[in-house]
Symmetry: C2
Subunit: 373 residues, 2 copies
């Protein structure tokens, strides 16, 4: 092995304006060079309590079981499903984009009988439509995506949807991977039972952890399981003992990623959620106005358009792949294309967390203007 | 939320001499403060290729499918099992400590009919004993732990065990969580089909990634599955497409942890595996001699004693919990106790990766001498 072929790490200084990972806050980067301590060190246990308190704030919940899952957002999704599904359970999933599809795939692997409601990518559900299906059949669980990263659409009326689910005896699982920390997510007020997110979007940390919160109602369902959770690594009946008072070893916590998450959340708390949401909105609105001027029309109507992630229709003057390559090569700017039915039709532009700043909007719009000229 | 209650991150400068996490190399800490790039950025794809090449070196394998799983070592164990087990498969697990037990638990969750062979904690298996059981019944998979972190014992004769398994048509899964990078692990020479490890022991990185390697023989078994892998996040039929030529998005790779792993592996390559193994042995031998002098007798006989992790019997003059608390509080040194049948009977002392240095041995022995005086 010729070690000298592996050079010093020296990536280009990318401006990450895609759907995630987003720009990591410099304070988070610094926190990650802090020496590691043990996962059962009293100082680390104290840090875990702080991470939990900060996560409760960002989720706007009092849920005791509020923790970071030791994987990326997809592991959070899987934890949110596998712990509450037993083989043969009826599960209803409202699909309006790729991440809803992924929920269907996961739920089936755990033996659920999955019924799905579908909306075209870019649309959202009317709560009445979901309630109608909930009244037709008894479901253990209803799952949906709050902020669809594949389309840029926000599922509105979460409170009404959750109320309908509870009326019919179903738990509510909500994906807020792209919304948490960037736009209102109110777990307790909306009465969502299980919500999860990721570290690398509006929380300005690298990918690697998935914040998760579980209501007392959902914990009862977990305790009443007749079968073991099919997934060992994500089994909350064991994970909760490490994060709870017992501190029983399950797996070694990713120490440095927890340092990062704590710092990212501390920055959220310093700014304040309301101010942070307003900042995301103000910068998104500036982006939308600039895109309209360039005839890169936002794909989703304003009433349910996400602020941390904007999708825009491509103009005939802008080639999807070549345009993104030029942005990256000439300006060090990353944005993402669409996929599935939206491949080649939209771009996805993120203004998330530390990346949601006026100067980034201005630079991106100026670069796009050059590309289109 | 009163943000000021969360102070600047400032952990005590621990000397991590437990079973992991071990001391992180300063170069790895620095690599982790490198700004993040996208998981589909051409520069990140190039870095993935480098990580794979370096992992092949440390595993001593040519296996194409050699990757870091996006979770801690336990996720590596689960990936090594869930991808190759279908409901009803016969699986044989050789258990000689806690991590063998964990394999049994995991394999059962995936529907395997698990037979187990047992050795007392601290002992190892005779290959003949394993072959005898393999000849009695047709198994799809044999799994065992190379370096038992709960006992400090090395399972010897891996090559013979693997040959017996293949003779009887079984795949071989080997846990090398505590051995990889610190003592000989020769995946190809030993003909092991699936091996996995972690980032936070002899590779001197923080916890968060699990190196995994899969032989062509095992990949055929994966391709021939009749049922989908029950675990979405760890499903290698999808993960291999992101790490392979297709680069199909599965989950967002933990970018910073991959920066860390690349740097940790680069340091391994610079030192060279043989030199690194010799360093671990030399420092372990110095530790053993010092422990003998203090009447803290190593628990495992020299012929199959691990070098990265030493277990020692406690003397009546050294209380387990109080002694470890004093080491931590007075000297900032972390070592670990035993658990399961070895709780209160042994300590576990790691000299792993960057932590395997003469000065650490000297300091620990001097501190122990004070405690015992």
């Amino acid at each position: 092995m010729e070690a000298s072929q592996f050079k010093d790490l020296n990536p280009s200084p990318r401006l990450l304006l895609g759907p995630g990972p987003s720009l990591v806050h410099p304070r988070v980067l610094r926190a990650m060079s802090t020496p590691v301590i043990g996962h059962l060190d009293p100082e680390f246990l104290a840090l875990m309590n702080e991470v939990q308190a900060l996560l409760r704030y960002v989720f706007q919940t009092q849920n005791e079981l509020t923790i970071p899952i030791s994987g990326t957002g997809s592991a959070g999704m899987e934890a949110a499903l596998c712990n509450f599904i037993e083989p043969g359970d009826n599960v209803l999933i409202a699909v309006m984009g790729y991440f809803g599809e992924r929920m269907v795939d996961m739920a089936r692997r755990y033996g659920a009988n999955v019924d799905r409601l579908d909306r075209q990518w870019g649309e959202i559900f009317d709560p009445a439509e979901i309630e109608q299906q909930l009244s037709r059949k008894k479901y253990k669980l209803l799952a949906f995506v709050h902020a669809e990263t594949s389309t840029g659409a926000e599922q509105l009326h979460v409170k009404e949807i959750a109320a309908a689910a509870h009326k019919h005896g179903a738990l509510v699982v909500m994906d807020c991977v792209t919304s948490l920390g960037g736009m209102p997510v109110r777990v307790d007020e909306w009465d969502v039972d299980i919500a999860y997110s990721c570290s690398q979007k509006c929380l300005s940390c690298p990918p690697g952890l998935a914040p998760l919160t579980v209501s007392p109602r959902a914990r009862e369902v977990l305790r009443a399981r007749k079968t073991p959770v099919a997934n060992w690594y994500l089994d909350l009946t064991m994970v909760e003992k490490y994060w709870g008072n017992e501190r029983t070893y399950h797996h070694t916590a990713p120490i440095t990623m927890n340092y990062a998450l704590r710092e990212g959340l501390r920055i959220v708390a310093e700014e304040g959620l309301e101010a942070r949401w307003a900042r995301h909105r103000a910068n998104a609105e500036a982006l939308w106005a600039g895109l309209e001027e360039l005839d890169l029309t936002p794909f989703v109507p304003p009433s349910y358009r996400l602020t941390p992630l904007t999708t825009c229709a491509l103009s005939p003057r802008l080639d999807d792949v070549a345009g993104r390559k030029r942005l990256l090569d000439e300006y060090n700017i990353e944005v993402a294309g669409g996929f599935g039915p939206l491949k080649g039709k939209i771009w996805r532009i993120g203004l998330m967390g530390y990346g949601s700043r006026r100067e980034n909007v201005t630079l991106l719009l100026a670069a796009l203007r050059k590309l289109l000229s």
